[in-house]
Amino acid sequence: MFKKILIANRGEIALRIIRACKEMSIKTVAVYSTADADSLHVHLADESVCIGRGPSKESYLNIPALISAAEITDAEAIHPGYGFLAENAHFAEVCASCQIKFIGPKPEVMRLMGDKVQAIGMAKKAGTPTTPGSDGPVKDEKQALEVAKRIKYPVIIKASAGGGGRGMRVAHTDLSLAQAFQTCRAEAEAAFGNPEVYIEKYVEDPRHIEVQIMGDEYGNVAHLGERDCTIQRSHQKLIEEAPSGVLTPKQRKAVGKYALRLAKEVKYSSAGTIEFLLNKEGEFYFMEMNTRVQVEHPVTEQIMGVDIIKEQIRVAAGEKLSIPKTEMEPRGHAIECRINAENPDDNFRPSPGTITTYHVPGGPGVRVDTHLYQGYKVPPYYDSMLAKIIVHAPNRNEAINRMIRALDELVVEGVHTTAAFLRGILASETFRSGKYSTHYVDDMRKKKEKAADKESKK
């Protein structure tokens, strides 16, 4: 086992990894930017190294600084967390060339699955269902129109290098397709330095279902069931749950099998997530793979009794998968709320500042993953997630009640947060019924805006 691990991340995920290491008697090295000198991960780690200024490019994305920090502290491995360099194959390669173990899948698998077009190709090869589409990059408008004719409108244009909802456009007619195609290429070029796009059938009113995968370096791969991340705002996940409240046992088995096939096809090692869209007819379509641990991994941990971060570390150290390859039986239902420092009343504008009062929910079935403390200054440089509140209860109804109760106990003052907004979703009849798609939150907000507009025009 590793003696010392450097955590190339910040915030709650850095804490999550430090906690796992402490419980495994592995020493930890925190890295931090000058803006994060007072951050909790710096205080909880055994050692810490300042790697640069506040902006991510000068610190958490600064590969030479991270490698140097690992070298001067004799860290044997680097855990990248999520975000920052977690899906950067080049970083994984640099680690390897410096004899530092990158805790994640092999760089070539990261690169393969990081490219949307190649990933879809792999899914097809593995027999995992994909949305009908261009089967590769679309080079010009003419080809785009041909594809649309074949798969029928609506279609969606996606940047090969995109992800997380960025670099996408929907077209319903030949006319809108032509325009969307050009816009999407230009945006992809600007955002990712790569104008390549592809076209797929647009799945209307889908649910977001993803499967947690775990593999070791001996070809053993298992899945830990699905998560339902259908509650999103502008493609950003807000509330995640496991298991999904809507899958039939047959669907559950099917999506697990689809994911496992693909993971085996690419000989996936470490933790990864395979995302699917579920359409109204109950069919799954492979969307993309995330080759890292995910923000919402705790809901799976709660119902499966598995520590995904520890398992990542163990398999990176060369141990065999400890998760049984037979389907695991979940216990109960888990829900996660992401509490962001954003103002829901001001279009979710980020709200950095100092946490003046802070009180976390407690009691049975409540887990809080956060780097907050009273007096903490939320810096303006990084993503706005403050805390993840995870509840676990015997069934979905009780889990919803428990989450509402937990949110009611939470006190965060000094910055705006999304807690009350999320509480509103949880308390809605629609959420409890389970009858909604990924558009639910955006549609609800649009409706409210319209109503407010009408009101103000009176």
Binding site: S48, T73, T356, V411, V412
Partner: protein
């Protein structure tokens, strides 16, 4: 940093850091705040104090005339309010629930939990009315608790300037019932 280096560091230890926070928490309600400021004044020869902090303004001046003035709204929104949610954090309960602040020494408080009655029976005359004189030991209300009618007697003599609770109202222990001046 190497282990040894870390130890040398002048970065403050967690314990010290905790202490910095500690100062933040202490005093209770807004009234207590004013009271505390008055105590501060009394303990010194300060003649005037202005104290302002987002949402709270206190200005105290010693000497003849108006003893102090509080710029309302004392209970107004704090600097930054967290989302509309039930927040469990602490606060001193006001001295007089259900009533405007009253100089504490002048109230007579409920000796028990129960239901407050102003008369011995629905048809009877009220024991006291506002403006009445009251003697020590004089019954001024009944508190019903566990089906028992408990007579409550005045602990001081004076004039009843205010009856703070309604007939038939539930009262908790120590809840101010009447003001005697």
């Amino acid at each position: 940093m190497s282990e040894s280096k870390k130890n040398e560091s002048s970065k403050p230890s967690p314990k010290k850091e905790g202490n910095m926070t500690s100062k933040k928490v202490k005093v209770s309600s807004k009234l207590a705040l004013v009271q505390d400021v008055i105590q501060l004044m009394d303990a010194s020869d300060i003649s005037e104090i202005s104290f302002e902090q987002a949402g709270v303004k206190i200005h105290l001046r010693r000497g003849p005339g108006v003893p102090f003035q509080m710029a309302a709204p004392m209970m107004s929104a704090p600097v930054m309010s967290a989302p509309a949610m039930s927040a469990p954090a602490p606060a001193a309960t006001a001295a007089a629930p259900g009533a405007a602040p009253v100089a504490a020494g002048n109230t007579q408080n409920s000796p028990m939990v129960g239901t407050f009655y102003r008369a011995s029976s629905p048809d009877a005359k009220a024991f006291i009315e506002e403006g009445d004189k009251i003697e020590v030991g004089q019954v001024y209300c009944i508190i019903e608790a566990m089906k028992l009618m408990n007579e409550v007697k005045s602990e001081k003599a004076g004039k009843v300037t205010k009856i703070l609770v309604q007939n038939g109202q539930a009262v908790e222990f120590n809840q101010p019932l009447i003001v005697v001046e």
